[in-house]
Structure formats: C-alpha cells, structure tokens
C-alpha cells in the first residue's frame, strides 16, 4: 500500500522518551512526512501537540509521567483531528489495550520495518485502524474469554467475520493478503478492523478479559 510522497505532506509528531529511537525514526520518516515536533515526556508532548496540531502522533506506550494514554486523555478531546498511533518495544497486553482504549487508532511494535511504519501512519491519518499481529492477538485473547452475561452483545462480541480477519492479521498477513484469502475487498477488511477498534474502545468487556483475570486486575 505504498503511495508516492504527496506535496502537502502529512505532519507527524514523535513522542518517545528514548532520544536515539526518536532521532532514528525522524530520519526515516522525514523523507515522506513533515516532522511537526517531538517530545520525550507527557507534559512536553501535550504542549507540543497543542502548539502544532499535527495530523498523526506517534506515541510511545511507556512514557515518564503517565504513559501514552495520559497524552491522549489530555488532548484527544480538544483536538479531534489529531490521530494517534501507539508503538512500543516491550508490550504488556494491558498497557497496549489501555492506550488503544484511550483513543489510539492502532498499535505497532518498534521493530516494524520503516516502509510498514510509513504505511501505518498514512492509514491512521486516513482514519483507518492499524492492527499489528500482536495487537490482533491481544484483542482476540480479550474477546474470546467466557462472559456469562455480555452487557451489550453488539459491543461485547466480535462477529465471526471480524474474528476471521483478526486471526489472519495475527497470522502475519497484511490487509491486502487477508482480503485475497477471504475473497473480500481491502476496503471490507479495513471496515472490519475499524469495527473491531470501535468495539475495543467502547466495550466494557475489557474488564473481563483473560489477561485481566490472570493478573487479578478485575
């Protein structure tokens, strides 16, 4: 899904407490995107995002001062045009899910290849959801545990098709390959993934997930 660089370039704001990682990503992304700014902690990120109103914020899950979700909680409401893409290297399921539930439109690991990261940023900018294999696994895990009485069946369960799409993503297939294997269009795959994202963000079911009970968070 690589598109050629556009003249009016998407602005990207980097939030990561690791200076080396930030400068590496900046070098990679500067070819295609306009880097609006960067920050290494929650307060700096909030101020910087308010000042620059970027299209996409690349947001580390683990940040000093409250983590990535604190940034989304602070500015997500006031700046609805700003989209967030979460990334991290050491991903505990509950941290990732919490960041996505706070409003991030996707999650990728820091080991992602540069071309795929650019692709993910564009996807998030366009309002789509970005699910890495690991996030797909987390979500399947969260939604497949037994629930005696789902409060809202529409939000608390994934459809068979959505589960099928997520399973393929977890198996390492890109959206295009998922579409071909399931004989549906890429657009339909995107619709399913966005629907899963909506359920993940709105469902109260997260409290009943397997990992939450495992860790006695409930």
């Amino acid at each position: 899904m690589l598109t050629p660089p556009e003249p009016d370039r998407t602005s990207v704001f980097l939030v990561d407490d690791h200076h080396l990682f930030r400068s590496g990503v900046q070098t990679e992304l500067a070819r295609e995107f306009r880097i609006a700014g960067q920050a290494g902690d929650v307060d700096g990120a909030i101020a910087g995002i308010r000042a620059t109103t970027p299209d996409v914020v690349l947001l580390d899950v683990h940040l000093p001062g409250g983590g990535g979700r604190a940034v989304i909680d602070a500015v997500g409401h006031d700046l609805p045009t700003v989209r967030f893409l979460a990334l991290s290297v050491s991903d505990a399921a509950e941290d990732v899910i919490a960041t996505v539930r706070a409003g991030a439109r996707g999650y990728v690991t820091k080991t992602i290849a540069p071309a795929e990261l650019s692709d993910a940023i564009r996807r998030v900018r366009d309002g789509d959801a970005v699910f890495s294999p690991r996030l797909a696994g987390f979500v399947l895990d969260a939604f497949t545990g037994d629930v005696s009485a789902p409060a809202d069946p529409e939000l608390d369960q994934l459809t068979a098709r959505e589960q099928e799409v997520l399973r393929h993503i977890a198996r390492g297939y890109a959206y295009k390959q998922v579409a071909r294997r399931l004989n549906i269009s890429v657009k339909t795959v995107e619709t399913h993934v966005s629907s899963v994202l909506r359920k993940l963000q709105l469902s109260s079911r997260h409290e009943l997930t397997r990992w939450a009970t495992d860790r006695r968070l409930v």
Partner: protein, 414 residues
Amino acid sequence: MRTAGATTDMRGGGVPPLRWRRLPRLPRSTTNRVLRGVAGGIGERLGVDPLFVRVALVVLSTAGGLGPLLYAALWALSFEPAHPLPPRRPTQRQTLSVTLIVTGTLLLLGQAGLWLQGGLVWSVTLVALGSAFIWSRSDADRRGRWGRFAWLEPLIGGRISLPRVLVGAVLVVVGLTYFATASGAVGDLGAVVVAIAVTLAGAALVLGPYIVRLAQEVGDERAERIRSEERAEVAAHLHDSVLQTLALIQRSEDGREMAALARGQERELRAWLYGRPRVDSDQTLGQALEAAADRIERDHHVAIEVVVVGDGPMDRAGRAAVRAGAEAMLNAARHSGAATVAVYAEVGRDTVQLFVTDEGKGFDPAAVGHDRRGIADSIRGRVERAGGTVTITSDPGEGTEVQLSIPRDRGSAP
C-alpha cells in the same frame, strides 16, 4: 542483661576447647579490656556484654568490697590466651542459667547480710529480671547488623514482642516501687508510681527527638540496603543477558546475525519483565513456543513473530503442537528465504490450532525435494499420531503456510 536469642550456630566460629578438666582457668579478653581483660573474658565466655560484668563488679564493691576482691581472684585464675578467642554466643539455656545464677547470688548475698538487706535484694532482683526480659528479644545476628545502635533495636526494631516488653516493664516498675517503699524514702505508693511516670515522661521528652532521628537514620539505612540489593540483582541479570548480547553484537559482522541476537535478547528481556509468574515448573504452550522460536531465531538468523491466543498447559496436544510447530519454523527458516516467520497459536477448549506462515519463495507441494518431503512427513507424522490434521499450502513465489489442528483431551481443558 544482654542476651542473644536462640542462636546456637557454632559452625565457623568454633571455640577452641578449653582444658576445664585440668584447671578451670579463664581466658582474659585481648580485645575488650579496661584493666586486665578479666571482665571482658567473663563476658565473652558467658555470652553477655562485658559492660554488665563490669557494672556487676562495681556494684559488688558496695557489698563489703567484694568486687575488687573477686576481680583480683579471677585475675589470678585467668590466663592470657595466645590468640584472641571469638566470643561465645549463648543459647537460650545458657542465658537462663546466667540469669538464675545472678539472681541466686543476689539472694544469697542478701541472706548472708553482706549486702542489700531485706526487701532491697528483691527489688534489685526484680529490676534485673525485668531488664533481662526487655533486652532479650533481639537476636544476635540482627544486633550485629545494628552496630552500635544495637541497644535501640528492641525499641524500634521490627520484631518487638509486646508481651515481653510489658512483662519486663512491669517487673522493673514493681522492683523500683518496691525499692522506693521498702527503703522508706517515700511512704506513699501512689506518689512513687507518679514519680516514676514523671521520670519516664521526662526521659522520653529529652531523648525522644534523638531516638526518633536515630530510628530514621536506621530506617533509611535499611531502605538503602534493600534498594542496593535490588539494584545488584537487576545488575546481575542484565550482566548475564543484555550486556553479553551487546558484546556479541559488537563482535558480529553479519547484519542478520546481529538482528537475530538483538531479537533473541528482546524476547528474553520481555519475558523477564512481563512474564506471567509460573505457577509451577511446567511451561505453558505459549512459553514453549516462544522458547522454540528463540532457539531457531538464534540458529538461523530469521525473525519469528509468535502470537498466542488463549494459552494453556502443555498437555499431550500442546506437546505435539509445539514439536510439530518447531519443525515447521525450522523448515521455513532453512528453506523459505523469508526474513520473518509468523507463528500464530490459538488454544481453544477442544483444539489447539497452530499456523506457521512465511512469505518466502514457497514451493510446489507436488514436486518437493527429498529432504523437504522428510520434514513435511515428520510434521505430519507427529500431528497425526496425536489425532490431528495438517494442511500445508504453498505456491512458488507465494510463501508457505503450515496449519495444524490437534484435538485436546477431555478433562485437560483449562
């Protein structure tokens, strides 16, 4: 009286056998001496603080000059050891013996009219017993760590035994009250109690801030010690894992090898940081898969992404899935040419499903070479022996996917 708890551990600091049978001779202390080291020697042999022995000797001086006489006699009977002897740590039984001997001696002196007539001997005995109670809670090991603040430990240390302190305090107060009334200095019992209370309150006011500050320092010191122990543990782990890997990466010249080293380390560190605590020594299916993926990553320099949904114990189906999955990963790592291999496992109530996918060069399943046929057969053999099915889909240029599904035994469901 300072006594140690039930520290009977005499290993290491073994006391040289003294020739008591020939002549009971006391080794003088070479390290703890004011005059000739006699009191120090007694203290070390009996396992009590020499200070108490000295106080006892001084107090006994009032009993018709008994103290100096006793000291001279003991000195004459003692000898200078060639090398310093380690102090003894008394057992509880020894402690009790010393307490009883001291009590008995006091009573005997009182009866003999040498010292402290009448009720006074009782009050002194009560005070001594009470003090022994109060001081006897701290064990020797902990006192050693507290250094010269050891005397504070019973007051502020962690193992305060309230009943003992109360019993000790009651004994001391009763002894003091008895002394005050019996000596006729104060006639009114109530006034004595008030006087003692006022004295104690005054002492608390005067010494309070000092004690609090000391307690704080000791607390800080303990917290710092715990912190540094944790730091040492983390440092030890990082040294064995991350630093070794970083060294290997610096020595490595092959980019793929570097990446594999880094990935293996990342996986290991993540497991260490976020790994679910193991209930027992058994691995879960997910952990076993990760371990297999890690081995193959290290040996073959490919990246293997493992995603597990609904982990479970390593039952018969799980073992078959992990072994067959490892074969499939190995196959992909060796022959596909792909840089990454995706592994997805879903552990359901009834089945274990496993997908091993690569985007490598693929092959025509109808026309495979002999070696690959063998691997495919070994995957198939393992799975089918466990009652499962294998589907291998591949096309030249399209990558390969090995898909296995193995039924789980009834009753092994989580």
